[in-house]
Amino acid sequence: MTRPLRIALTKGRLEKDTVGMLEQLGYDCTQVREKGRRLILPIGDGSIECVLAKANDVITYVEHGVCDLGVVGKDTILEMQGKFYELLDLGFGRCKFALAVKKGTDFYSGYGVKTIASKYPNVTRRFFEAKGMDVDIVKIEGSVELAPLLELSDGIVDIVETGTTLKENGLEVYEDVCPISARLIANSVSMKLRQSEIETLVTKIERYFENKEET
């Protein structure tokens, strides 16, 4: 009668990492690996199904309770916010938010109000608000590194993994904002109404990480 436990995965790398983890846990993910163009796919014996979505949508689906669980990056959580439970740090998809500027610039010098370009205006605003600093924020959709190069902004707040893109464009990390990794989130009502199913899965994942750390 009840539908399978529905888990929304962020398409792309987080999806691959999650599928890898679920397979290690003994769930059959063949259907997800051979998905074609389908977006809702059964996992294992069909007691779980996964939904493939863009990162922001994972949060939306979980918040509304049409998906019970979700795997999404902390970057998206920080930017979108919302009301849901954040159950686990899945450890993969590790990177950080950082403030980057043109190499050799002293960002905090001078009186002028700084302009910051970012794909993550909310993260940026909170970061500078916490410092009690007024900044102009410009939302950029594509390669944010362009903004300081074209002198639209004094710096950028963006996700940094290896820093290679920054380096190749003459930018450098000036200050770390916060670390990022993939998170398992849950709808607050699902957590209560499907407690045992969710806890079973969460415990399996936790144990998987414990074993991984030991080896």
Partner: protein, 397 residues
């Protein structure tokens, strides 16, 4: 310039036919349920002064309130909550009334929701407030009413109990800065285990820190109480836990063990709760559809220091859930029993005849057609069995 004359503002909508029928049905069910318990209805204005909601505990973020000004330039808001205005009424006009007061309301609240999230800005709440008693029976009465309300929506409801004082006690015992405590609250409210762990790691080890670490995991059935007892930080903690356990047992007795659960880290968005708190869930809706609890300090903020407890049902949410059920009412009315057609000059007689038939319980519709033949065609198309022509000849008989 854009003219917004054909759409409603984001977060609001028109309710038509089936939705209205269902909503009114839910409202009248709740009305019957509350009045059968001796609760009297009160209506407070949609507009209130901003100051009413600008409480010490700051439960209402100003960016979430619809604001406007009155003719004197004073700041007004569209009521974002029903309990606070009722507290205001109790502390003023009802101050001399004998306690306890049993009050019931069915009216809307307005909140500015984040854009494009598919949330309602206008929500109808039906709820009760029991003012003037801090007894366990008062909490139990309120919970029992909540159980009956939930049961009338769906026998597979889930009721969840908590206690707002538990977290407060732990916070008092925890050696940490106010900022850290605020962050802790966020982590526990969102059951954010990774962040909670990181945050507690930075604090000195203490019994309160140990309890806080486990607190968001302490939800489920009766087994939670035994688990929580191991983390007791002292008498205050144990007393709250035992009280809640006793309450849980009473509720389980009349509602059934499967229907009532407990979440020791439960927190409400509004901050005025001081003791027992409750939430109700229905499957098919991603948020609670019922919420409430004990708020013993709120009336004191209006200068009337009496305890109080209550809850509210989100009528819109219940309507949404029930409208997806198979037994939901259909959108169209059944056809009228009689179509009454009047020849020219007989209109008054037709009105009179219709009134007489309605008094007998029939649904009577006036034909607006020019000819009787057209009226008959209309009746056939709309499934009306009887057409009654009122003509000179019949009248003259």
């Amino acid at each position: 310039m854009n003219k917004y004359d054909r759409i409603t503002p984001e977060g609001t909508r028109d309710s038509l036919f089936a939705e209205c029928t269902l909503r009114r049905d839910i409202e009248s069910r709740l009305h019957a349920l509350f009045s059968a318990r001796g609760y009297s209805e009160i209506i407070t204005p949609t507009l209130e002064f901003y100051d009413v909601f600008n409480r010490k505990a700051q439960p209402f973020p100003q960016e979430q309130m619809y604001k406007l000004t009155d003719a004197k330039g004073r700041l007004l808001v569209l009521r974002p909550d029903n309990t606070v205005p009722i507290a205001r009424v109790c502390a003023t006009r009802l101050r001399e009334s004998t306690l306890p007061l049993r009050l019931y309301y069915n009216q809307s609240i307005h909140v500015i929701s984040p854009s494009l999230k598919g949330r309602d800005d206008e929500i109808t709440q039906a709820g009760i407030e029991l003012i003037g008693s801090d007894s366990r029976m008062a909490d139990l009465e309120v919970i029992a009413a909540a159980v009956d309300a939930l049961r009338s929506f769906d026998p597979n409801y889930q009721l969840e109990l908590g206690n707002a004082a538990l977290f407060r006690v732990l916070m008092q015992q925890l050696p940490a800065s106010e900022t850290a405590k605020e962050q802790l609250r966020d982590c526990i409210e969102s059951k954010n285990f990774p962040a909670l762990g990181d945050l507690l790691d930075t604090l000195p080890d203490s019994p309160a820190a140990k309890a806080l670490r486990i607190l968001p995991r302490l939800f489920g059935g009766e087994e939670v109480f035994a688990k929580a007892a191991k983390y007791s930080t002292g008498d205050a903690f144990t007393a709250i836990l035992n009280d809640l356990h006793a309450l849980w047992k009473s509720v389980a007795e009349f509602a059934g063990k499967d229907r009532v659960s407990v979440d020791l880290s439960m927190m409400h968005r509004t901050d005025y709760y001081t003791g027992m708190i409750l939430r109700g869930y229905l499957s098919g809706y991603g948020e609670e559809i019922l919420s409430g609890g004990r708020y013993d300090n709120l009336l004191a903020e209006f200068g009337y220091d009496v305890p109080a407890t209550g809850f509210a049902v989100n009528v819109d949410a219940v309507t949404k859930v029930l409208s997806k059920r198979q037994d939901a009412p259909s959108g169209t009315l059944p056809p009228s029993n009689v179509l009454i057609w009047a020849a020219e000059g007989c209109e008054a007689a037709a009105v009179e005849a219709a009134t007489n038939m309605r008094a007998k319980g029939l649904v009577v519709e006036h034909s607006l057609s020019a000819t009787l033949a057209e009226a008959r065609a209309y009746a056939e198309a709309h499934g009306i069995d009887t057409v009654l022509p009122i003509e000179k000849t019949t009248e003259g008989a």
